[in-house]
């Protein structure tokens, strides 16, 4: 399989996570740390249920609901118990570590010889089929999410992030909006865990560590497209986020193919991302 093609596959797997981060960023304007836990939760549930020989497609809604539940708890702690949003996320993420460990009852579950989502049907050669299925899942998520965000409900949700007082004076329950938004975001994140666990062939208790940063990076890389082509539509905005996730993986793949000293890998990746993100913005300062 072509190396860059594989990077695109992984980027597609992570794009659900980027969509989730985009949502929580738009609702809170802060990164939702719950992501680290709900991503692993998605992977953990996938591995456990797959090894119980459950059908891969049936696992998808389970994963979404469980991730959503984690997001709801964060939202509830934040809105009802008045805990700072960042801390709420940290608390739920920390608690999820134990939950995930208890779910898997060990720290790593390989799912190598099990029928996963990619082996449901076989009509194309391995990697092309993997690509098609990933593209299908991500496209569905993309279309549904952009539809939701265009409904009255979605507009109210976006407005909650922009101006909470205004939306409350319009008779919308802003707490409800935040809880729903976070549930949706973490449901998406869990789906990302579901996809990535199946791409890499195992679920690991540490698979979610620092993943929120990755999602933030993807959202911000995606925004360079939007600025470059002056896009305002929410559908294209979400597409940009998905593109950002894929581009992030391609940059990393490029850094890996250069064969730079392992010591400097992370530094070089940061510099590459900085270059890609900053070049279009230079025009403004000139």
């Amino acid at each position: 399989m072509n190396f860059y093609f594989a990077a695109i596959l992984l980027g597609l797997g992570f794009s659900a996570l980027a969509l989730g981060i985009f949502l929580s960023l738009r609702i809170f304007q802060i990164p939702d740390i719950t992501t680290d836990g709900s991503f692993t939760l998605g992977g953990a549930i996938t591995a456990v249920l797959l090894s119980q020989h459950m059908h891969a497609l049936l696992i998808l809604p389970v994963v979404f609901i469980c991730g959503g539940f984690a997001g709801m708890i964060t939202g509830w702690i934040h809105t009802r118990l008045k805990v700072n949003a960042l801390l709420s996320g940290i608390l739920v993420m920390t608690a999820l570590y134990s939950v995930n460990l208890a779910l898997m009852s060990r720290s790593n579950i390989p799912i190598i010889n099990l029928p996963d989502i990619f082996s449901l049907v076989s009509f194309l050669p391995g990697s092309i089929q993997q690509f098609t299925l990933l593209l299908l899942v991500v496209s569905i998520l993309w279309l549904v999410l952009s539809w939701i965000l265009k409904t009255d409900f979605g507009l109210a949700m976006r407005a909650t992030g922009n101006n909470e007082q205004m939306i409350r004076s319009n008779g919308v329950n802003s707490h409800q909006m935040k809880i729903t938004g976070l549930a949706l975001a973490n449901g998406l994140t869990a789906i990302s865990g579901y996809l990535v666990a199946q791409i890499q062939g195992f679920a690991d208790i540490n698979m979610g560590i620092g993943i929120v940063i990755l999602g933030l990076g993807s959202v911000m890389i995606g925004e360079i497209f939007l600025n470059m082509f002056k896009i305002r539509s929410i559908t294209m905005h979400l597409a940009g986020v998905i593109g950002g996730s894929i581009l992030f993986r391609i940059i990393l793949a490029f850094a890996l193919s250069l064969g730079i000293d392992a010591l400097y890998l992370k530094l070089i990746v940061s510099v590459f991302v900085l270059l890609v993100v900053s070049i279009p913005n230079l025009r403004r300062s000139t």
């Binding site: 190396f3 460990l101 579950i109 890996l256 890609v276």
Partner: protein
């Protein structure tokens, strides 16, 4: 407008450079998949390449090409590094440690994978329903039997010990498996075991102090990632309380443990390298299979032995 062009230009260069395919190589190519930067893992890697060199495969004489990638403990990077090796059509992948092995056998069913610093395939849950390991998995594994001998070692050196303490990392399968084995062994020896989980090296000091509070008489340092990153901390706390630290890895003895019985990391990598060299020489995997690590050593730290008044027989090698 101009900057948009520059951007597209830079991006297209990035794409075109990245699509450049390697020219056909005549010399064998080995991919070495490392999970993280660690002194102990580096010993295994060293042993592996020394073994290859002894059989006439060395990058210095242009008889071997090495693609070395270290994921810096980032799982998606590990996956992409593995993808890169596969796309370069390496002759074999050397995987170090467990998570690299799992990733490699998941991503390829054809390229032989030579593992090191990994547990027996069934302990890593790599076997299928019939209990068979992946057909392309070779290299060297370890079981949990060393634990029994390690506990016996504590008994041998300090016969009066009734209570030992240990910390384990819930996020590492081998750590949890080893803990269960220690519990079993201690029970059969009539030793009481105090155990506490540590998930992050920042928690180590607190947890070790908690164990010392429970009046343990010896500390057993399970060689997992948290212990590797916080060994000095453990030794300092235990030294202050006058408690000896036992372990099962030589490098940790150099870092302040009193004695160890366990696999020699360098020899482990070397043994995997021997297998890999045989494969490179014959281009065939016939006769190769995952095998158990051969060299386990008894080592002790003379300085600590003096401090705790322990004597070690001729079966032990002193390390500094």
């Amino acid at each position: 407008m101009m900057f948009r062009k520059i951007f597209l230009f830079v991006f297209s260069i990035l794409i075109s450079v990245s699509c450049h395919t390697a020219t056909e190589n005549k010399i064998p190519v080995v991919g070495f998949l490392d999970l993280l930067q660690d002194e102990t893992l580096a010993n295994a890697k060293k042993g592996f390449f020394v073994a290859l060199k002894e059989h006439g495969f060395s990058p210095a004489d242009k008889t071997l090409e090495i693609i070395y990638r270290n994921a810096q403990n980032d799982q998606p990077v590990l996956l992409q590094s593995c993808d890169y090796m596969i796309s370069k059509n390496v002759d074999l992948i050397a995987s170090n440690p467990t998570l690299s092995t799992i990733t490699a056998v998941q991503k390829t069913k054809t390229i032989p994978v030579f593992m090191m610093v990994s547990p027996r395939p069934d302990l890593a849950k790599l076997t299928d329903a019939n209990g068979k390991a992946p057909a392309n998995l070779f290299g060297v594994y370890e079981t949990l039997e060393y634990i029994d001998t390690s506990v016996m070692l504590i008994r041998q050196v300090f016969p009066s010990i009734k209570k030992i303490g240990t910390i384990f990392n819930q996020s590492e399968p081998q750590s949890v498996d080893a803990l269960q084995r220690i519990e079993m062994t201690c029970k059969s020896f009539g030793i009481e075991l105090e155990k506490l989980p540590v998930n992050n090296s920042s928690e180590t000091q607190l947890v070790v102090e908690a164990l010392l509070n429970k009046k343990i008489e010896a500390f057993f340092a399970l060689p997992d990632n948290t212990v590797f990153s916080s060994m000095e901390l453990i030794v300092r706390s235990c030294d202050r309380a006058g408690i000896p630290v036992f372990t099962s890895e030589e490098g940790l003895v150099k870092r302040g443990a009193i004695a160890a019985f366990g696999a020699d990391m360098y020899a482990w990598g070397h043994q995997a390298g021997e297998q890999a060299a045989q494969f490179l020489a014959t281009k065939s995997t016939s006769g190769l299979k995952p095998e158990i690590v051969q060299v386990r050593r008894r080592v002790y730290n003379p300085e600590k032995a003096g401090k705790f008044g322990a004597t070690f027989g001729s079966g032990f090698i002193a390390v500094q």
